[in-house]
């Protein structure tokens, strides 16, 4: 078996493009080696930053670029870095969040496996910007290959002088630790990640204080997603103005979309933000349309925690604002495509099972609510729903939304609320006829 995920990427298109950059070398089998990475211009941005720039200049450049967090929340990266207090006597920490586990999302894994030095370089620049001398990457424990890859890359980076004491003679010391998780989706939420990295259970923390003020070991801490950090060296090399030539006014740059489900060509595709969802699903270069000549039924555009879109809504730009305007979210950029044979209640049953399993149990509405929701949805799907169940589900959702410390509760209910709003007849059919009306023939070949 291969070390790499066999996932399809649009690396060839990215290599031809003037502006797309994240996937430029991901199909080069040697890109993970430091020599190859350097040959492709790697670590030049880091060298420039640490030998000739001031932290404030780095923050300003990233702020001006309009780069926003690619993990799901879309928070402006430069602004986040700017929240770290300049006068704190405590150590500061930069953490790369590589706990990729939102169902549908499979992009960070590819970057780490195939271009690990890009992540290290981005992290190093972020670390310098906030005055951090020991940075961590928190990789989900299941990603054995990524962990091995990153550990190998970190060793190489030390050997070549990109990390360690007095980097490039600049006087700046920077160490990096590869930390593996223990299998818990919640640790992708930044405060749960901090607890987990401290050796605790992965329970989320109440904010404030925000991690930028009191995060890891109660010290100022910045947590950024893998893809976010991988974009940073390019912004330094080519400038904020170049980065803004891609995307829309408020959603600058490019983004990797993980396209999965019933398309002919599932894969990871880097496109500018604002790119048409319809094109991504139907164009031969990307998804190439729905499998087996079927029709589209629905799309989950941003990972398992985002509201559904119906076929009449897919003519929309893939950016934070456009998806919000049709009632959904860009999230992690995980686009899950459902064909006409797929039951919405069945889909929700799969989703709520996940969130029930992954709820950390700290907040009662989420811990208890996701369990009740799973029971109700499962009984409806199995033809055992009772009159009033749909309203009960809706009511439960309303009592979870916005009532939990971290967004897992919201994530669990938002797809359900939208599924009821958009497909209420289908839910009702299950209850009235005591059966599921959809073929749901998801046979593996």
């Amino acid at each position: 078996m291969s070390f790499y995920s066999p996932v399809i990427t649009n690396a060839a298109e990215v290599a031809r493009s003037e502006s797309l950059h994240l996937f430029r070398y991901v199909e080069d089998p040697d890109q993970y080696k430091v020599e190859t990475f350097e040959k492709h211009g790697g670590y030049e941005a880091w060298k420039k930053v640490v030998t000739s720039m001031k932290p404030d200049q780095v923050i300003a450049e990233v702020k001006n670029s309009g780069l926003r967090g690619r993990g799901g929340a879309g928070f402006p990266t430069g602004m986040k870095w700017g929240f770290v207090p300049k006068d704190s006597p405590k150590a500061r920490y930069l953490i790369c969040n590589a706990d990729e586990s939102e169902p549908g999302t499979c992009k960070d894994r590819v970057i780490m496996e195939r271009d690990p030095h890009a992540v290290i370089e981005g992290m190093a620049i972020g670390a310098f910007a906030i005055g951090c001398h020991r940075m961590f990457i928190y990789i989900r424990g299941e990603f054995g290959h990524c962990i091995e890859r990153m550990e190998g890359a970190v060793k190489e980076a030390y050997t070549r002088g990109h990390l360690g004491k007095n980097v490039y003679g600049s006087g700046y010391d920077l160490d990096m630790v590869v930390h593996s998780g223990g299998g818990a989706y919640i640790c992708g939420e930044e405060t749960a990640l901090l607890n987990s990295l401290e050796g605790e259970k992965g329970l989320s923390r109440i904010r404030p204080p925000f991690p930028a003020i009191a995060g890891l070991y109660a010290s100022p801490t910045i947590v950024n997603n893998v893809e976010t950090l991988a974009a940073v060296p390019h912004i330094i090399n080519r400038g904020a103005d170049w980065y803004k030539t891609m995307g829309t006014e408020k959603s600058a740059g490019s983004k990797i979309f993980s396209l999965s489900g019933h398309v002919k060509r599932p894969g990871n595709y880097e496109v500018p933000l604002g790119f048409s969802l319809k094109t991504l699903i139907y164009d031969e270069k990307y998804g190439a349309g729905i499998r087996d000549g079927k029709k589209l039924k629905a799309v989950i555009p941003g990972g398992a925690s985002t509201p559904f879109l119906t076929p009449d809504m897919v003519d929309v730009g893939l950016d934070y604002e456009s998806l919000q305007s049709v009632g959904s979210m860009l999230g992690s950029g995980a686009i899950i495509v459902l064909d006409e044979d797929t039951c919405i209640v069945w889909t929700i049953m799969k989703l709520i099972h996940f969130f029930r399993h992954e709820s950390c149990g700290k907040c009662t509405p989420c811990r208890e609510g996701t369990g009740w929701l799973e029971q109700l949805v499962t009984r409806i799907e199995h033809g055992e729903g009772r009159p009033g169940d749909i309203d009960k589900i809706d009511d439960l959702c309303g009592n979870i939304l916005g009532r939990t410390i971290c967004p897992l509760g919201d994530a669990a209910v938002m797809p359900i609320q939208s599924a009821i709003k958009l497909f209420r007849d289908e839910w009702q059919y299950h209850i009235d006829h005591k059966k599921c009306p959809c073929p749901n023939n998801h046979e593996f070949k």
Partner: protein
């Protein structure tokens, strides 16, 4: 001692990387799991002695995460992703097929202790579904033919 000298050394190496020793808990549990194949109270005690982190804190963390089970498992732990992207492409029927091939139900281990079959949450292989992880290796874009070949290969290796 259950932990080998090598594991103890690896844990001590990891300990140096963290400003606070408690952070070594998950890495230490991972090292122990990789060596033994499961965790136990004795192993928690040993980790506690090596790291000087109280036993109760190790036990508390270990029981929260899915990757530190106390039950012994087969030589090959087959973990099939059952989340939405894999389910859309037949994860349920993949699990059924594996149950049939191995002659066990999900959650069980074959009598020869070779295979344990479980289903797990998303493993980040959504665009290469359906998939399974066997120990630390990912097997993606699965078909019946591929599953047959993988199982044969593992049986031959064992």
């Amino acid at each position: 001692m259950i932990l080998t000298e090598e594991s103890v050394k690896a844990i001590k190496e990891r300990l140096k990387q963290y400003p606070q020793r408690k952070s070594v808990i998950l890495p230490a549990l991972t090292i122990a799991y990789r060596q033994v194949g499961h965790l136990s109270d004795e192993i928690y005690q040993e980790i506690s002695r090596v790291t000087k982190v109280p036993y109760v804190e190790i036990a508390e963390a270990a029981t929260f995460y899915t990757m530190f089970p106390k039950e012994p498992r087969g030589k090959y732990l087959i973990q099939v992703c059952h989340n939405i992207s894999c389910a859309l492409l037949g994860a349920d029927s993949l699990i059924g097929y594996l149950e049939e091939k191995l002659g066990i139900k999900k959650g069980e281990t074959t009598p020869d202790n070779l295979f344990t079959l479980i289903s797990v949450e998303c493993l980040g292989s959504c665009a290469t579904a359906p998939m399974m992880q066997i120990n630390y290796d990912f097997y993606e874009n699965l078909t019946r033919e591929k599953v047959d070949a993988i199982l044969e290969e593992l049986k031959a290796k064992a």
